[in-house]
Amino acid sequence: MADVALRKVVKRYDDVEAVRGIDLDIADHEFIVLVGPSGCGKSTTLRMIAGLEDISDGDIMIGGDVVNDVPPKDRDIAMVFQNYALYPHMTVAENMSFGLRLKHYPKAEIKARVTEAARLLDITDLIDRKPKQLSGGQRQRVAMGRAIVRNPKVFLFDEPLSNLDAKLRVQMRIEIKKVHQKVRTTTVYVTHDQVEAMTLADRVVVMNKGRIEQIGTPNELYHKPATRFVAGFIGSPAMNFIPCRLEDVGGTLQIRLTDRIAFPLPPARAARYNALPRTDKLLLGLRPEHLTESHAHLEPGVETFETVLDVTEPMGMETLVYFGLDGTPVCGRVNPNAGAKDGAPMRLAMDLNNMHLLNEETGVVL
């Protein structure tokens, strides 16, 4: 087991820069998830750590040693691929033991390790089958088993759950977390699914256009996003971004959303945003759960307004409501019993204590 460090790592393909100088420190035993939209450079970064791609610039260190020119087999890593990459002509046991056999481990030890990994992953009964005879979920377990038996310094996962159906994905997500809790191997996991990222990671690395946008625990990313990209990428349904501007009215700082909707900011927020120029083009970032139905007793900082709903989506435990504010589509989450109906007027409450204010041009959260 070991820590992993990336120093100003760059990957160029001809004249395209896929990864643009990223720095990342991954602690021993840590579970790190690289997340971002397709083409953001997350898989390339993982493959550079694995040694499957050369790096154009910078350094990659595993356990303190620079491994830039070390071939994959000597990096002491194990990787789980999106398509599992199981050897179709080998049985499950042969697949799992392949790496150990190449390294000439004693037969007894190979058997012991394979048996232990199979027990851990609950695939003991499948040990003599060929990959063809396994379901997607079982293949995924075998691929993980192949990684575990090697007892490597680092586990690398490249979108391992993308090929599974939604239900199995949730199940395997929990399995992966359980396995990590047991073996505690440093893990780098790549996904484009922010739910997977949030549920699995000790820390999440959000990537966009070859750069790291933000690194943080799932809660930090959710509650304190640094940029508009992170704020919009993490969370489902996504955060609302409503054009707004700040005004001073009678000594209090107000946020104006439309000609007829303007609210005074809560004192803490007002103090924070007071120094901002009033001319800046701003965006109010508000998660759907902070736009709910109006109550009789509202907390300070929660303001209400009347709107006409466009569409409602009953989800069972909540109802998503969609409406427009001066043409900007906005989503809210209301109680299923609050009486939200398509095309009907409704009084909604906006929790400004949980608001974010963003600079529209730079995308930075202020």
Binding site: K73, A78, F98, R146
Partner: protein, 312 residues
């Protein structure tokens, strides 16, 4: 296919209720329809393959004048002739050696071509296929000139190194070497293109997984490439073995079986015995000997193909 079923069902309905029903049932079955649809091809194959095959069996049981039934007389006569056993031996040496070299060269060249960047690959693939697309009768004539003992390019070039002249087609060893060389030159591109297709179907991720598992390039070939290509290798080898075993044109043009019949194959010897020496029954008898030998090879090579086909 459904249209045909309906059409035939309609016709059957018109010919009386009871009879119509059973006929309609029979015609309605997919297998029956499939049989009728393939019938023209079955008849064609029967005409072009089965009839000549059985006719040659019939011929092999006649005397030289084709007037009397002699049973297995021709076969027992062949068994006693030394030349026959030499032809069996030479056919096996020729086919096995040529196929092994074609397979090895094809495998190596396919790897080289596979690793050429996509841009230039088509050009190389096309050029490497040239020997295979030239009619062998034509290209062998060029080889015949190259092998000429006095005026050939080979011996001329070798003379600069103080070697030769080599009697390429005049001495048993060199004549056997030469016919095998030309056959390898002609057949290797076929293996190359088949192996290249097989190589392209191996997912890159398997190599990456193997690289991470600690396999060096040789272990990657041994544990990933070869097992993934097993079926293609088996089928290509069998196909080539049959074609090489039955080769006619290369030997016919280069040596006509000489010197002293030592380069004869079944086909060229059958031609010589049957057509040139006008003993058609004996010629038919010679060519029939290829069947059991190739059948044994086919059984050995294709033994596991269907089973393995289910793995991937």
């Amino acid at each position: 296919m459904a249209d045909v079923v309906v059409e035939r069902g309609r016709v059957a309905r018109a010919t009386g209720a009871r009879k119509g029903k059973s006929l309609r049932n029979a015609l309605g079955r997919k297998s029956t329809v499939a049989f009728f649809l393939t019938l023209p091809l079955i008849l064609l194959i029967a005409l072009l393959v089965l009839y000549p095959a059985f006719y040659s069996v019939h011929l092999a049981t006649l005397n030289k004048a084709m007037t009397k039934f002699v049973g297995l007389g021709n076969f027992t006569f062949l068994f006693k002739r030394e030349t026959f056993w030499m032809v069996v031996q030479q056919s096996c040496i020729f086919a096995i050696t040529a196929v092994i070299f074609k397979a090895m060269i094809g495998f190596v060249v396919a790897h080289f071509v596979h690793n050429i960047p996509a841009k230039g690959q088509r050009k190389w693939r096309g050029m490497l296929l040239v020997p295979w697309v030239i009619p062998p009768a034509m290209s062998t004539l060029a080889w015949l000139w190259l092998f000429d003992p006095s005026y050939s390019a080979f011996n001329y070039t070798l003379s600069f190194f103080g070697v030769g002249p080599i009697p390429w087609l005049g001495e048993t060893f060199w004549a056997r070497f030469s016919v095998i060389l030309v056959n390898v030159w002609y057949g290797a591109p076929f293996f190359m293109i088949m192996y290249l297709a097989a190589l392209k179907s191996v997912p890159d991720q398997l190599y990456e997984a193997a690289a991470i598992d600690g396999a060096n390039w040789w272990q990657r070939i041994w544990y990933v490439t070869l097992p993934m290509m097993r079926n293609i290798i088996a089928i290509t080898t069998l196909f080539s073995l049959i074609v090489t075993f039955a080769n006619f044109d290369i030997v016919r043009i280069l040596t006509s079986g000489g010197p002293l019949d030592t380069t004869h194959l079944f086909a060229t010897w059958a031609f010589q015995v049957g057509i040139q020496s006008s003993d058609i029954p004996l010629g038919a008898c010679v060519s029939l000997f290829m069947v059991p030998i190739l059948a044994v090879a086919a059984i050995f090579i294709l033994r596991d193909v269907t089973k393995r086909g289910n793995e991937a």
